[in-house]
Structure formats: structure tokens, C-alpha cells
Amino acid sequence: MQIRIRCNCGEGACAEWAIVELQGVVEPQPSIGDQIQGLEIGRLCCTSSSSSSQGSYTFTVGYHELTGSRVSLKKPLLVLKKMKAAVDGDERGTELEVIGIIRHKILFKSRPKALISRPQIKEKKMS
């Protein structure tokens, strides 16, 4: 099956995306429940991006700080957007649009560092 995709931006000018790969799970506080919309996950900082491939990043989630590095993917990935196009009476119902291209991922595979300075609060939160 052939999938036809359309790129608006044109080759070479596509927006660059990146994957954040974590060894672990980001999950909401149990008290919050399912309403996770509009919550800030964390803060991703590029600490040293001197070399193109080996930039190091820190990712702060909750009271954990993760340290990771940028890894280039073997095969780049495309980010597509499915669009419903029933505009011109064309036979096709949907079409895919390229939003971005992913060539790198930021891999956080090390054990997170705790940022807790006040143990009481941590104790409290744990309980």
C-alpha cells in the first residue's frame, strides 16, 4: 500500500523534532487523579551543546533531575499529521501532512538525582 504524504515546508526546511526517551515513567501525583491536562511535566535544559551529537541535557521532573545525552537515530522518523479533507469532493477522506522530522533522541538512561533538600517534605509526600 502506498501512502502519499504531503510536505508543506519542503525538503530541508522541515521542522526538526526530537524524542525524549526516559528509563522510567512520568506519572501524576496520585491525588490529582486523571486530570493531567495543563500540567507542567518538567523542565528540559540543554547544559552543554558544544558538540552536535553529544550535547548533554538535564530534565527536571518533580523532585528528580535526570541527566541525559543526545543520540542520533539510525533511521530518522517523520512526524505526520492526519487531516480529514472532505473539502473539494475528492475521493480521499484523509491525508497526511508532515509536521516534522526526527533525527535525534535525547536519552535519559541514568538513575535520577533527587532534588529534595528538606527531608520532612519528602517524608510527607511519600506518605
Binding site: G24, V25, E27, Q29, V61, H64, Q120
Partner: protein
């Protein structure tokens, strides 16, 4: 054998000499014919002088230096008649020089001529052969006849090129004699010259001439100073030990171990012990630098000799060092000679060092004695090989090392440093021999700290000078004792006879006694009197003595003088009334010279009561103590007003005491230590009290001065601290009243910051008392205030608490203190609220939630809580309601803590205040807990998402994911 070939000058001189002696032959005959009278002799010489032969002229020119040299020799010589002064006075009369020289030539010629029979009586008259070595002037030689008679023959010979010269040539390098024959012969020659000079003075011409010439007279002290070991006046035992010590260095310094005492020294020692005073034997005179420098010819020869000696020595040392690598240094590297002045310490050091073949390097009080200077000097002595022709090893003599305190200390420090270095390097003993070799040592020593490898002799007057304390432990100490008056008097008499000064033995002994056998001062006095042409006056010896070395006695001496009655003085007192006055003067000067009145009085005070004086009514004692009190207040006044002139009144005080209690028996004097000891103790206690006072709550301590505490409060305070009503039972068994008492006691103790602490009793005491229980410790009051009421043989009325009670108290007090501290901290934080209650409430609010947080409410937590509540009780005392109701409501945990084993009782227990507050507290905690909860949630909301790390888990299954899955 290069040295045996005489120098060209010498040969020339010998030639003229020989010629002269031949020429003189006829005078001998005449002299013998004319008898021995001096007038005849001079007549002969005059006649000779009248016809001017050419030889005389030659001789005068040649004789010039020799003449001087002979005069120099004479200075050292103990002349045996009164003409010494005159003789020296006409030292440089050149026109009669030939005269002086001729008489020994007579003798020499007489020896050489076949008319021996005639010559012998002449010799006998001049004491050339005698049974006693002391009667022979100059070098002598023992001769034992075939029948066993031993006589001493004078060694004299004028024939320089004769048989003796031949002997020298035949001698091998290693001598059988202690000294090379060349030196002996030269010495004999010198003697001959001396004699010539001396006889020439017999002529009446010079008698008129010399009386006026006494300007550059030498001091008798120097003139008659012992030049050889055998003449030392000091104690023989000490002499020998010093010599022995120096000899111990031989193996390391000279490198040879086989150097035993030379024969002539031994014989001299033997003679010395038998004959007290012998005439000057020219034993070591050739070492004198003075003479050597004056006469170039001799110098040349002597250097030759020394070179040879050195070669010889080196050969031996190399041999022996190869044989035996271990050398035997003396154990103590430093010799410390001490004793009163004028006993000949310096002389002994010099003579002994010279005797053992050292060059003496003296550092005197007049030299620069800073540490660096001393160090460099010692380094020089220890390391350097002298550039002088005679490379004798050096021996350092530090004179008057106790003299200047600061500088002398420097010297002591340097020596100690070197000694310590020596100790360190003692480990590698193998190097020691190498180090001893002066040549090789330099490279090694550059790296290491310098060690002492040459003998060092220190001389001091006061062995117990503080600066010398460290040295005393290191050094070998020899204390000089006074020689017997007899010995001194004999020597003085001998000198007086020599100098023609008329004295009596009694006068001399009085003088010696007065100066305490200080022979230097004796001699100075005698010479002074001789100059003034006065006779020594027995009665006024004190006023006549001059030239005493200024010296202060040690404190011990002063005390001894004060507390011991002088036996001799007592006798004198009976004879003449005025001597009591002298005694006073003596003591006065003694004490005021000593100067340290405080110490003196201290010493008197401490030793006074140990004296065995007769005092049945204690009157003397009372008087003495009164006097001491006067002295004390005087001292105090002087110190306060700084009027040092008032110190003049101190010696009479001591003298008064001396008059009262001095005994003939030797007092057993000890150094006063109590003052120092109690001073230290006072400082300690004061310090202790001060720190204690600082620890007490300011509201209390400001009403409590240390002085008044010690004087007034201690005893009652101790009574309060140890109430007898407390029963040593467990807390929960105590009655209500007891509990209150206990609480009060704890309160007192905390506010006065008194507690009990473990302190181990004295180990020995413990071992005796509780042998089985090794670590039995006793709880004592922490600032040991009970010490202030502890006196010897005094039992304080307050009874100590039992050990169990103390244990309880320790706990309670600790608890209370912690509480107070924490309150104090929080009090500082909160504002000073007007109502105490409010304050306490807020504090509770702060404290309790914290504990509440740890919901488990562990015993610890509640313990703390309860403690906090106890605290509150003191702060707010007004409200006391509803306690019982609250009590019922409350969980019993809080009360449980106080009596954990008895919950039943605690429920009914009206520990009212606490529970009231507890209730308040728990209410508070609810409220504030909610608030806290809220705060926590907001904080949690700030971090809605958490990261959960999946550690080390992988299923290790790779699963293909279709793109279809991704596309939903």
C-alpha cells in the same frame, strides 16, 4: 728523616756555639780554682769583657732572639729564688748578654772535659742530682743505681751537635720515649739559657738597677698558674676524672685507642701525690704558642716535629680504625665544671685539655655569645682542621656559661641541639669512626645536623642557675670542692717565698679562710700588699683583700647561712665582742647581694618550723612569725608603691630571725614550694568558679559574687544540694512531697548549673579499695564546689547523697537542662509577649505539631513533648483547672513516660499542669496541622508529575511495532 737535618741557620748557630764553648775552657778552670763565689765569677767575666774578642760580637748579634726567648721562658718558670723580679727587669741589657750565656757553657764544658772529678761537686751544688725531683729545676730524669738508690738527675747538655744529636738521627719514627728527644734536648737548652740568665743576675751591678723596674710586672696569678697537670691545686679526684673524661675522647678524636697515659705523666702523678708543691717542670712548655712565635728557629723546628707527630698519628689512627670500627666515645659529651670562683676550674680545663693534646678554644663571658656566634664557633671547633702548623684537635672551653642568662642560654641551646643530633645519629654507629676522621667528616656533616665530636667543657659558678637546667641533665657534672686550707696556704707560702714577701702561716691561713680558699683573690691580695710594701695583717684581713670575684650565692646558701649558726663565729664571739658585728655585716651583705627577698623570706618561712630550736613557750615561734608578717606586709607595700628603696629593710628582718632560731646543726633546707603550689591552686579554683559563674543563669549569677560565695554561701548551698530528706527510692515510689522536693532540687541544680558527673577515683586508691571492680566510678558534683569546704581533718556537716539518688539527679538535671536550652532558643525567636501564657501557648503551637508530624508518637517523641510541657509549667503558674478532666481524656502516654512501669497509677496521678498544656497543645496541633497540610498540598501541586525510574528492568524481547500501531 728530613727533620733531623738541621736548618742552615741552626747549623750556623751551632758552629758559633761550639767555638764559644771551646774558648770558654780556660774560664772553667779558673772558676773552679776561684771557688763558687759570685764576685769571683763576675771578676772573671769582667776580665773577659775587657778584651774584646771577635766571637763575642758575633754572639751578641746571634743571641738577641735567643735572649728574648729565654726571658719568655723564664716568665713561665717558677724561679727558685727572690731575684726573679730583678732578673726580668734587666731583660734587655745587650752589652752583658754574653755574660748571661756563659755559665751553662761552663757546666757543659765541664761535663765535656776530662776533669770530671772537678765538675761533679759543682753539679751537686747546683742540684743536678737529687733524691727528690722537686729539688731539681727543669727537666729531670730518674736514675736507679746498682744498689737500688733512686736519684733524679738534671738533664742538661750544651752540646747540640754532640752525642745527643747522633741519638736523634738513630731514632726511628716511633718513639719509645713519650716525647721526641729533639724536643727534650731543646728544652734542656732552654733551661740552660734560663740558668745562664739567672746567674748573670747574681752580679751586684743589677741589684741597684732592678729595684725600680717593676712597672710591667706580671700578675702572680698568671705567673704562678699551674702549667702542667701535676701542679693543679684542685682536688685530685676531680682532676683525674676530668682527665679520664678527656682521654675517653681519644679514640674518636685521635683515632687511636692505644694511647695510654704517657710514662712521664704517670710518674708525675706519682710525684704529685707525694710531693705537694714541686717546682715548675717544663713539661709542656713547648706547646706555649707565645714562645714558639717568638723564636723563629724554634718555631720552624717545632712545626717540623708536629708534622712528624701528625704523620705518625695518622698512620696509627688509620691502622686502628681499620682494626676496630667501633669507637668508645664518653657517654656524656659535655663536661660541666662548677664551683666557687678561684678554685682553678678554668685552669684545670686548660691544663687537662693541653695535656691531652688539644688546642683549647675558649669562649669567655667577654666574647660574643649569641646563639649564632656560638654555633659557628662550635662548628669551627668541631669540624675544621686548623690551618696552623700543628693540627691539633680543638677542645672547646666555654667559661662562665651561667654568666649572662640570655646569652648563656644560647650557648646551652646550641650544645643541647648538637647533643640531640648526636643521639639521633647514634643509630648508625658505623659512620662514627669515619666522622671522627676530620678529613672525611666534612662532606657527611654538611648534610646532617652537626654532632659533637670534640670535647666541650663548660664552666660555671652556680650549678643551679636556671639557664643550666637542661644542660645539667646531659652533661657530666663535676663540682669543685674547696681545697684544704693547708694546701692553699702551702702554695701561698711557696709563692711568697719565691717573691720574697714575708708572711706568716697564720696570716696566710687567715687570708685563705677569709677568701674561702679562693686562691686567685689570695694571690691578688698578696701581690697588692707586696707592691704597697705592707705586711699581711691578720686582724684586718677583710679590709685588705682585693680582687674578689663578684658573685652572689645561691638561695640555698643564703638560707643555710641564715638558719645555721656558724660554729667558728661562735667561738670568736666569745673571744672578741666585735665579731658579732662582723657576723651581722656578713649576713647583711649576703642577703642583700642575693637580692630576691621574696624568695629568701619564703625559704625562711618554710624551713623555719623544721628547725630544732628550743622553744617551750612558743615565744620564739610567735616572734618569728610576727617578723615574717612584717616582712610580708613590707613586701606588699613595696610592690604596691614600687618604692624599691624600702627593700633595704628586708635583710635585717632575716637576720633577726637568724638570731632567734639559728642552730649549730645543719638544717635540712628545702626549696619553698608551697607558695607556688597554693598560688597555682588558687588560680585553678578561681578559674573554675569563674567558668561556673558564667554558666549560671544571669538572673542568679548577678547576685552572686565568687568571693561571697566561697566565704558565705558554699556550706549552706551544699546543704541545700544534698537534702537529707530524699530517700533513695525509685521515682514512682516517692510520695508527693518527695517528688516536689526532688523537682525543686533539680530546679535549683539546673539554675545553678550544678550536676553530678562521673569521676574516677585515684587509681592506686581504687586498687586498694575495690580490687575486684576496676571501673567503679564515683559521681561527684560537677563544679566541685564541695572542695571549697574540704579541709584537712575537717568533716563537712553536709552529708552526701547516696549513689542511686545521684544517678537519678544526673538524669533529671540533664533532662531539665535540655529543656531549658530549647526553650531559651524558642524564647529568643518569639517576641517578648506580655502574657506569659500566650507565649507559652505559641511555643507549644510551634513545638507540638512538629512532634505530631511523626504520627507514630514514639516514646521518644512524647517524652520530648512531655518535657516541653514540664517546661511550660514553670513559665505559667497561674491557671490550674480542668486538669483532671483533661487527664482522663488524654491518652496516658505522656504520663507513662514518667513512670513507664505503672500505667494504672499514672491515670489517677494529678500531674495537672502538664496535662492542661497537653490538651492545649493537642488542640493547637490540630489547627496548625491542618494549616500545614494545606501548605503541603500547594507545594505538591507545584510538582504534579513525578518521575518513576524503572531500574535495571528489561524484558529483553524486541518486538516489531507496526507503523499501523503508531497511526492509531
Amino acid at each position: 728523616m728530613e727533620m733531623d737535618i738541621p736548618a742552615p741557620e741552626e747549623l750556623e748557630w751551632l758552629e758559633t756555639n761550639a767555638l764559644f764553648s771551646e774558648e770558654e775552657d780556660y774560664t772553667v778552670v779558673e772558676e773552679v780554682a776561684g771557688g763558687d763565689q759570685a764576685e769571683d765569677l763576675t771578676e772573671v767575666f769582667r776580665r773577659k769583657a775587657s778584651d774584646p774578642p771577635t766571637t763575642i760580637e758575633i754572639q751578641t748579634s746571634k743571641k738577641r732572639p735567643r735572649e728574648k726567648e729565654a726571658a719568655a721562658a723564664l716568665e713561665g718558670v717558677l724561679a727558685d729564688d727572690e731575684r726573679g723580679v730583678r732578673r726580668r727587669a734587666s731583660g734587655d741589657d745587650s752589652d752583658e748578654e754574653w755574660l748571661r750565656y756563659s755559665p751553662p757553657k761552663d757546666v757543659a764544658a765541664a761535663d765535656a772535659t776530662p776533669e770530671r772529678d772537678v765538675a761533679v761537686p759543682d753539679v751537686a751544688e747546683e742540684k743536678f742530682i737529687s733524691r727528690f725531683a722537686s729539688e731539681i729545676e727543669g727537666g729531670s730524669m730518674p736514675v736507679t743505681g746498682p744498689c737500688g738508690d733512686r736519684v733524679y738527675a738534671k738533664m742538661s747538655s750544651g752540646e747540640m751537635g754532640g752525642t745527643q744529636r747522633k741519638l736523634i738521627r738513630e731514632k726511628p719514627a716511633n718513639y719509645l720515649l713519650s716525647e721526641p728527644i729533639s724536643i727534650l734536648s731543646r728544652r734542656v737548652e732552654q733551661d740552660a739559657l734560663a740558668k745562664a740568665l739567672q746567674t748573670s743576675f747574681d752580679s751586684p751591678i743589677h741589684q741597684t738597677h732592678s729595684t725600680s723596674q717593676t712597672v710591667n710586672e706580671q700578675l702572680w696569678v698568671e705567673k704562678y698558674a699551674p702549667k702542667s697537670f701535676t701542679e693543679l691545686l684542685s682536688d685530685e679526684q676531680t682532676n683525674r676524672e676530668v682527665l679520664l673524661w678527656l682521654k675517653q675522647w681519644d679514640s674518636s678524636v685521635f683515632g687511636s685507642q692505644i694511647r695510654a697515659t704517657t710514662d712521664d705523666v704517670l710518674s708525675a702523678l706519682r710525684r704529685h701525690s707525694s710531693v705537694q708543691h714541686q717546682k715548675f717542670s717544663n713539661l709542656k712548655s713547648f706547646f706555649g704558642t707565645k714562645r714558639g712565635a717568638l723564636f723563629s728557629n724554634q718555631n720552624f723546628k717545632s712545626s717540623d716535629v708536629f708534622d712528624r707527630e701528625n704523620n705518625n698519628l695518622k698512620g696509627v689512627s688509620e691502622l686502628s680504625s681499620r682494626k676496630s670500627p667501633v669507637n668508645h666515645l664518653p657517654e656524656q659529651k659535655v663536661l660541666l665544671l662548677c664551683g666557687p670562683p678561684g678554685l682553678g676550674k678554668t685552669t684545670l680545663a686548660h691544663v687537662a685539655a693541653k695535656h691531652c693534646g688539644y688546642r683549647v678554644v675558649e669562649i669567655n663571658a667577654s666574647d660574643d655569645r649569641s646563639t649564632s656566634m656560638i654555633e659557628s664557633k662550635i662548628l669551627d671547633v668541631v669540624q675544621m682542621n686548623s690551618v696552623m702548623p700543628d693540627s691539633k684537635p680543638k677542645c672547646l672551653v666555654i667559661d662562665e656559661i651561667d654568666g649572662a642568662l640570655g646569652e648563656g642560654k644560647g650557648a646551652v641551646e646550641v650544645i643541647l641541639k648538637m647533643w640531640a643530633a648526636e643521639k639521633k645519629s647514634i643509630a648508625d654507629k658505623g659512620n662514627a669512626t669515619q666522622e671522627a676522621q676530620p678529613g672525611k667528616a666534612s662532606s657527611r656533616k654538611g648534610r646532617k645536623a652537626v654532632a659533637l665530636s670534640r670535647p666541650v667543657i663548660c664552666i660555671c659558678n652556680d650549678l643551679y642557675a636556671p639557664a643550666l637546667r637542661p644542660l645539667r641533665q646531659v652533661a657530666k657534672v663535676h663540682t669543685f670542692v674547696q681545697p684544704t686550707v693547708n694546701r692553699v696556704v702551702n702554695r701561698l707560702k711557696y709563692i711568697c717565698k719565691k717573691e720574697g714577701f714575708k708572711t706568716s702561716t697564720i696570716a696566710l691561713s687567715a687570708l685563705a679562710e677569709y677568701t674561702e680558699c679562693d686562691i686567685r683573690s689570695c694571690l691578688n691580695t698578696l701581690q697588692f700588699l707586696n707592691k704597697k710594701k705592707e705586711a699581711l695583717n691578720i686582724l684586718e684581713v677583710g679590709s685588705q683583700v682585693v680582687g674578689r670575684k663578684d658573685m652572689s650565692r645561691s638561695a640555698f646558701d643564703v638560707w643555710k647561712e641564715i638558719l645555721q649558726k656558724r660554729k667558728l663565729k661562735c667561738e670568736k664571739k666569745s673571744m672578741s665582742g666585735c665579731s658579732g658585728h662582723g657576723d651581722f655585716d656578713y649576713l647583711y651583705s649576703l642577703i642583700s647581694n642575693r637580692g630576691e627577698y621574696e624568695l629568701t623570706v619564703d625559704g625562711i618561712y618554710e624551713n623555719l618550723l623544721h628547725l630544732p630550736y628550743h622553744d617551750p613557750l612558743m615565744q620564739k615561734t610567735v616572734k618569728c612569725l610576727d617578723i615574717l608578717g612584717v616582712s610580708d606586709s613590707l613586701l606588699q607595700y613595696v610592690m604596691r608603691t614600687q618604692q624599691m628603696s624600702l627593700h633595704v629593710h628586708q635583710p635585717p628582718i632575716a637576720i633577726t630571725i637568724s638570731r632567734l632560731v639559728a642552730q649549730v646543726e645543719k638544717p635540712n633546707i628545702e626549696w619553698p614550694k608551697t607558695f607556688q603550689r597554693y598560688r597555682v591552686m588558687l588560680m585553678e579554683k578561681k578559674d573554675l568558679l569563674k567558668t561556673w559563674q558564667n554558666k549560671i543563669v544571669p538572673s542568679i549569677s548577678r547576685h552572686l559574687s565568687i568571693k561571697s560565695f566561697v566565704q558565705d554561701v558554699v556550706s549552706p548551698f551544699l546543704h541545700i544540694l544534698t537534702p537529707p530528706i530524699l530517700r533513695p527510692v525509685a521515682l514512682h515510689l516517692q510520695s508527693e512531697k518527695e517528688k516536689d522536693d526532688l523537682a525543686q532540687l533539680v530546679d535549683t541544680m539546673v539554675s545553678y548549673s550544678v550536676t553530678y558527673k562521673n569521676s574516677k577515683p585515684e587509681p592506686s586508691q581504687k586498687a586498694h579499695k575495690y580490687g575486684a571492680v576496676p571501673d567503679a566510678s564515683v559521681l561527684c558534683l560537677d563544679p566541685s564546689i564541695d572542695d571549697f569546704v574540704k579541709f584537712k581533718d575537717y568533716q563537712s556537716e553536709h552529708c552526701g547523697l547516696s549513689a542511686a539518688m545521684r544517678q537519678v539527679l544526673v538524669h533529671e538535671v540533664d533532662k531539665q537542662r535540655i529543656l531549658r536550652e530549647s526553650t531559651g532558643r524558642s524564647m529568643n525567636l518569639t517576641d517578648e509577649s506580655s502574657s506569659v501564657k500566650q507565649a507559652s501557648a505559641t511555643i507549644n503551637a510551634e513545638v507540638i505539631p512538629m512532634i505530631n508530624m511523626t504520627e507514630s508518637s514514639s516514646v521518644d517523641g512524647s517524652n520530648k513533648l512531655n518535657a516541653a510541657l514540664i517546661q511550660r509549667q514553670e513559665i505559667s503558674k497561674d491557671a490550674s483547672k480542668t486538669s483532671s478532666e483533661v487527664n482522663k481524656k488524654l491518652p496516658t502516654s505522656g504520663v507513662n513516660l514518667r513512670s513507664p512501669g505503672n500505667p494504672k497509677k499514672s491515670s489517677g496521678h494529678p500531674s495537672g499542669f502538664f496535662d492542661r498544656f497537653r490538651k492545649e497543645g493537642s488542640k493547637d496541633s490540630m489547627v496548625s496541622g491542618d494549616a500545614l497540610q494545606k501548605a503541603a498540598t500547594t507545594e505538591r501541586d507545584a510538582r504534579p508529575l513525578l518521575f518513576k525510574y524503572n531500574e535495571g528492568f528489561t524484558n529483553a524481547v524486541k518486538r516489531p511495532v507496526r507503523i499501523r500501531d503508531l497511526l492509531i
